[in-house]
Amino acid sequence: MSALLEVRGLEVGIEGLPILRGVDMEVKPGEILGVVGETGAGKSMTARSVLDLLPAKATVSFASCTFAGQDFIPPKARQEARGHRIGFVPQRPRGSLNPVFRVGNQLSGTLRRLRNMGRREAKDEALGLLRSVRITDPERVYRSFPHELSGGMCQRVCIAIALAGEPELIIADEPTTGLDVTIQAEILRLLGEVISERNAAGMLITHDLGVVADVCDRVAVMYAGRVVNLGTTAEIYREALHPYANRLVSIATSLDSGGTPREVPGRVPNPGDHLAACAFAPRCFRAGPGCFDEEPPRIDRTGQIAFCHHPVNAGEVMR
């Protein structure tokens, strides 16, 4: 099955500092890809590159980038897809809505711009979209200002706006950070449902491995501007090949079961820090001399791809 979105060799620099150092990633039709990693790993930057929403001073280059077969390297192609073919759900829903306009106007305005609708038609469609994100009283929400709505309700409105252009791909950047757990669960379910109802695909950026396990079909684990491990959620959680991904899963599962987590020493590198050939090598429990000087090879095994000199062996107990 050919990928809906395929990104190869994505490099982004800001003022000479490398932020993304060759990101390879693809989203297949109908799936939700989770993108996980810690601060500065490049999760949001990857999404923003695809949407051409990077800061003006950023430099971007792709080895290749296609969306549904179309060449996505020219910035114009990415700009035209934004909103129409790719919807975006932001991290801070209330901050992303305009505080001085009623949410209904923001939603119908989006519809009029994206789908050339008339005023009346746009309002009807907007109410329909609010209903489709399971808002039980769309008329009231339509007339509300963002500050009159709860965080969870604002995020539903943002999802409705992301759906306005009838996108084939929905990118959600930490869509539930700052929401309470019970609301988070509802928003995640809603995202999964609207994506599958529309036969669209999703890219979910998060740092929460629980969220990934809940909704994602495949996971890309990023570290210091690269995807270091990619695979089906089941495989990555069962036994991730890359020691970094493996340790993250192990920390999350041991905390979840009340056990003592293994420690990962050190900290995440900052942009501009000197990096070893494998950026994780200084913190890695499996690192050998080669890890610091030689580019890690691509390992393709058990439905996973990892970039590592010393991948975790099958059956090896790391927990």
Binding site: T182, D256, V268
Partner: protein, 322 residues
């Protein structure tokens, strides 16, 4: 530990905020409503709840950063509720806090050494010079080097800054440390480092922790005891392991079911509670969960629910589950 005095015991603690609603109209918001809890020496009590549940207000009342409307706070059997002036200053050295945001809670103009020494200057009347040895020891104890004393907060990573916050809290060897979401702004790999550090400091110094969090997986690891708050009320409390294994209150059950778990085979359950948490101003006179609760009956609306011990210190405020 028979006969041991609880590090902290709070009784019937209530805080009412008077809120201006419209023009000259006011309303009373019960942020903390009749809370009774205790922590034994060397133990960790986690307080969990969603935003607006009153967990941070509770912490501030305990630390006497807010004045309670009613109730008492006993620190090592001493009533600190009415203390003032120098007496209160002395007690403050026995209870400390670690904040959620490690950078915001450190003064950007002070060196790390000065920040960590400050409690000693205040509570033990030491000079900077006298304090420096203990500061160096403490920095090493939290996994930094004495050389960090000369640095400024902006030179530190998030994890290092949080270690400084922990060093500052622990340097007076307090009996009680309030940890207000101490790991929620840290990266996953760093989060586990800080949790391990907190645990080893507790074992070494026999400190009691009041651990405030909304992250149930962190709580599952670090807490001995658990109190679940909803709209200012403790709805369930008791040994953490027992509550995680068999939650009794419908709200606790909903929280546990909604929390995503790092296991692809486990899917969270979403439709347990109805709607969203209302404002504490609109609370029903009876059970705070009335209106969202899937098992509520009409009587729940106006019958206040008291915590009932169902055995083994496990207390639940729900007549249908006791």
């Amino acid at each position: 530990m028979t006969g041991a005095v609880d590090t902290l015991a709070i009784r019937d603690l209530t805080k009412v905020f008077r809120i201006r609603t419209r023009g000259f109209h006011h309303a009373d918001l019960k942020a903390v409503d009749d809370v009774t809890l205790s922590i034994a020496p060397g133990r960790t009590l986690a307080v969990v709840g969603e935003s607006g549940s009153g967990k941070t207000t509770l912490a501030r009342l305990i630390l006497r950063l807010l004045e309670p409307t009613e109730g008492t706070v006993l620190l090592e059997d001493t009533d600190i509720t009415a203390m003032k002036g120098a007496e209160l200053e002395d007690v403050r050295g026995r209870m400390q806090i670690v904040f959620q945001d490690p950078y915001d809670s450190l003064s950007p103009w002070q060196t790390v050494g000065r920040t960590v020494a400050e409690p000693l200057l205040l509570h033990e009347d030491l000079t900077m010079k006298q304090a420096s040895g203990r500061v160096a020891d403490m920095l090493e104890r939290v996994g930094l080097s004495p050389e960090h004393a000369r640095r400024y907060p902006h030179e530190l990573s998030g994890g290092q800054a949080q270690r400084v916050g922990i060093a500052r809290a622990m340097i007076t060897r307090p009996a009680l440390v309030v940890l207000d979401e101490p790991t929620s702004s840290l990266d996953m790999s760093v989060q586990s480092q800080i949790l391990l550090l907190l645990q080893s400091l507790q074992e070494e110094m026999d400190i009691s922790y009041l651990f405030i969090s909304h992250d149930l997986s962190v709580v599952r690891y670090i807490a001995h005891d658990l109190a679940v708050m909803y709209l200012g009320k403790v709805v369930e409390s008791g040994p953490a392991a027992e509550i995680f294994a068999s939650p009794r209150h419908p709200y606790t059950e909903a929280l546990l079911r909604a929390a995503p778990r790092p296991d692809p085979a486990h899917k969270t359950d979403h439709v347990f509670l109805v709607g969203e948490q209302p404002s504490a101003l609109d609370r029903a006179p009876g059970c705070p969960l009335y209106g969202r609760c899937p098992i509520a009956e009409d009587v729940c609306a106006d019958t206040p629910q008291e915590l009932v011990d169902i055995g083994g210190r496990h207390r639940v405020a729900c007549w249908k589950r006791t």
